[in-house]
Amino acid sequence: MKAAPITTIKTIVEKIDDGGPDVKVFSLVDPDRWELPPFRPGAHIDLHLPGKVVRTYSLCNDPAENSRYVVAVKREPSGRGGSIRLHDDVRQGDTIGVSLPRGGLQLDNKVSRFTFVAGGIGVTPFLSAAAYLMRTGGADFRLHLMVRGEPPVAGLLAPLLQKGHVVIHNTVTAARPEVASLIGRTPSDEMVGCCGPQGMIEDFEQATRGWPDELVHIERFVPLARPLDPNEKPYTLVLSRSRLEVAVTAGQTMLAALIDAGIDIPASCCGGICGSCKVDWLQGEPVHRDRVLSPAERGKSLMVCVAGSATDRLILDL
């Protein structure tokens, strides 16, 4: 059997802690406790769960803790099923593939004060930021957490509460404060961040209108659609030998579309120089972006890792 490429970081569930009502806190480590790829405060990772379910969660621990990824997951019965799988099926010792960490806050700029506004489990991206700021001690910060009743991840919040960095607003017992009242009015040396339900995000966007982009950070539960390059258009690959059609979405590589379709394509550099993924084309107009094929070779072949199509349909000899 042909070996499959390794596309995720292999981690083991070291422990699962109770994070309060409907919340579990998962600690993920390398099987040999090797260091994991570094992450920025507020970064997130994808968890690859059985059944090709991929879910994104913020990392909650201090980025200096380089051998552990900690994520807090709230069980959402009406969600898409990822949190239910994690809560109900995942056990200590299980293996979970995760992505490289992405995103996060730039906390190393010349900012003397940070204010974070979070709703419920939306507190998670600011836990790693808070841990970083507590450790480095270079800037003052405050985390406003709005909850209905008991706050999540009490154990992770405890050291922040003890130092007076967290203000909990229980909207069961008091009115929800205006987001604008929680953040400064004069954007100068203050950075603000928000993560929570859509209504809170909209209030935050309103309150920070006109602020410099580098001083405002919004973490969304659902990612915004990536803005498309107007020159990138979807097209269809027609595989002449296997009599298949494969749709390539705008911005997707031909290689990724073929792999998704289960087509076995040898590839290596993924940058158009090694020549591993050369495929002959038969009809259409390829857009060549490689640096390995001669003009004469391009009349017959293309490199699927970087090539595109100028025509709606491109016929490949596959």
């Binding site: 390794i6 970081i9 090797w34 994991l36 790829p37 380089n66 290596s268 940058g271």
Partner: protein, 178 residues
């Protein structure tokens, strides 16, 4: 400084002359990692196993936990990288790349690695044979977050097989096999 010497013609014919670089280099850094994506860890010494790879490294034959392990390659038992390339990246492209970031196992100084394909050489007490030049890959940009694919074309290191195993330490000498 590289000293390039012209030597006598080889067996192919009197008019056929070979450029043979004379050099002696040193091992500056040693790194391994057990699995794809994980950071490379600096080591004071590494153990090379003849015909297989580096103890504990992802590309050790039989371990197969590297990003390219689904593409088996007998000549990829240990990889080398010139520290001079790191200097050039900073000088020519203003890119700071550390020896732990290029993801090759042995960082050398004073060795023209690109000249060594097909040759045998000593790395400390071990004997290696260079099989091919390494090529850069987008994977390394994904891991480092640095735009180093283009600057590393043609100077991304050297793949080798291990003919004679042993322990390689920082500061060991690297020299031609003669």
């Amino acid at each position: 400084m590289l000293d390039v010497l012209e030597t006598q013609g080889n067996a192919a014919g009197a008019g056929d002359r070979t450029i043979s670089p004379a050099w002696t280099g040193l091992v500056r850094h040693l790194h391994i990692t057990p699995r794809a994506f994980l950071p490379m860890r600096a080591m004071p010494e590494i153990k090379l196993i003849a015909g297989r790879g580096i103890e504990g490294d992802r590309y050790m034959i039989g371990r197969e936990e590297g990003f390219y392990s689904h593409k088996p390659e007998e000549g990829r038992q240990v990889t080398l990288f010139e520290i001079e390339t790191l200097v050039a990246l900073k000088r020519d492209h203003n890119i700071e790349l550390g020896p732990e970031e290029h993801r090759r196992n042995v960082t050398t100084v004073g060795v023209p690695l690109t000249h060594l394909v097909g040759r045998k050489f000593w790395l400390g007490e071990t004997l290696l044979e260079a099989t091919r030049l390494s090529i850069p890959c987008r994977h390394i940009e994904e891991i480092t977050g640095k735009a180093i694919f283009d600057p590393l074309i043609n100077r991304s290191g050297l793949n080798c097989r291990i003919l004679q195993g042993g322990v390689v330490r920082i500061g060991d000498t690297m020299r031609n096999f003669q």
